[in-house]
């Protein structure tokens, strides 16, 4: 997706993310923050987005939800708001708050996953990202890539196992 194409669809995606955040937080200020952060996140996925299909809307929804939870995490860690306001937001047992150690571990894990993705062949990587990041189903991926669903499932499985094994090995080391 080119920059011009992204700028064309950006207002509608921004409005979509704003409405999701508004439902979640119940106020326009936080929704504005989420919409802004969401657009920046979407910009990172610009190259993977395709104007011809509407998968970018699904991706925008997921990014908006991620930004909402991320904002809760930030506020919790910064203690900007009373904990009781946001303590009830996340379900019990869900790790919305993270310690610096956990954040560092997560960052390392992300790097490891990015590295493992580079070790995949391009088709596997593409299918993995379509399934993982864009949230597309097997049938949708099959329709978009003109590959049979069974093959898509097989390739996705292979990619996942490869990444999992590589990460397990790194952890052992």
């Amino acid at each position: 997706m080119t920059q011009e194409e992204f700028e064309n669809i950006a207002p509608s995606l921004r409005g979509l993310m704003f409405s999701i955040a508004c439902d979640f937080f119940g106020n326009q200020d936080d929704a504005e923050d989420v919409a802004q952060d969401g657009l920046l996140e979407l910009w990172k996925f610009r190259e993977q987005m395709d104007v011809r299909n509407s998968s970018h809307r699904g991706l925008a929804v997921r990014i908006a939800k991620h930004c909402c939870i991320n904002l809760v995490r930030k506020r919790r860690s910064n203690m900007e708001v009373l904990s009781q306001d946001y303590a009830t937001l996340a379900p019990l047992g869900t790790d919305t708050a993270s310690s610096p150690h956990e954040e560092m571990e997560l960052a390392e894990m992300k790097k490891a996953i990015d590295l493992a993705l580079l070790h995949l062949n391009p088709s596997e990587r593409r299918l993995f990202q379509m399934r993982q990041i864009e949230g597309l189903g097997i049938d949708e991926i099959a329709a978009l890539t003109n590959i049979t669903p069974a093959s898509v499932k097989s390739m996705v499985s292979t990619a996942r196992r490869k990444i999992f094994e590589e990460l397990k090995q790194k952890r052992r080391l």
Binding site: R62, I63, I69, G135
Partner: protein, 246 residues
Amino acid sequence: MTHQETNQLIERYLEGNTTPEEEHRLALEVARDDAPKEWKIISAMLGELITDEAIFDRMMADRKTKVTPLKPIRRIKPWYYIAAAACVILALSVSILLFTRKESDIEPKLIARTTTERIKPSSSKSDGQAHTKDIILKEAEPTEAAETQSVKTDIDVRETETEVKTEEPAVMQDIPQSTETRQTEGDAGPKFFPITNPKRLEYTPEEIEQLRQRAKEKYLEWIELERQIIEMEQKEMAELTDSQDE
């Protein structure tokens, strides 16, 4: 979700057989603080987007299903209303009753009191002894009526009798009955019947005549005293004018 179920789900995920909903459930499970290390890898593989989307969806679902604890609506039972109405009616009726009784107290009453004046005994006494009774008829003041011997017109005379007895026992017990009527009302000994209600005054014609005579005498005495006072005043005035002339 049990540990085994989560492991099964992880296996299905690695095989590519999980649906987006199952992946959301798995993301929530492996994102737990107490998750094993292998699960953390799966969590990282699923990525923040899936995990956060799962958290977001679950939170929104919880909010929808969760009933916000509002202040309980106070529903007053019907019998509370009935009890309250009954209390109000009772209070009103009591206050009205007291008010009307107070008003009746304000009305002038006749009170019997002992005085130094004496009335000649009645000739109809059975024992023939000379009974005397000191009687004064006067209007009761409203404030005094409630405190002293004043008796409400609608109360039985007997009640008043006991009140008066307790207040002035020494005097009252010494006073014998003076009429036949009083003798017939009580045979248990000497009693004092204060004159409270004109309807209950049942003096004999002789006693009434004596009372009239006594009143006439007193009236004449009062006239005489008034005449003397006027004469003295005239004398004083005359002396005063003489002294001024001199």
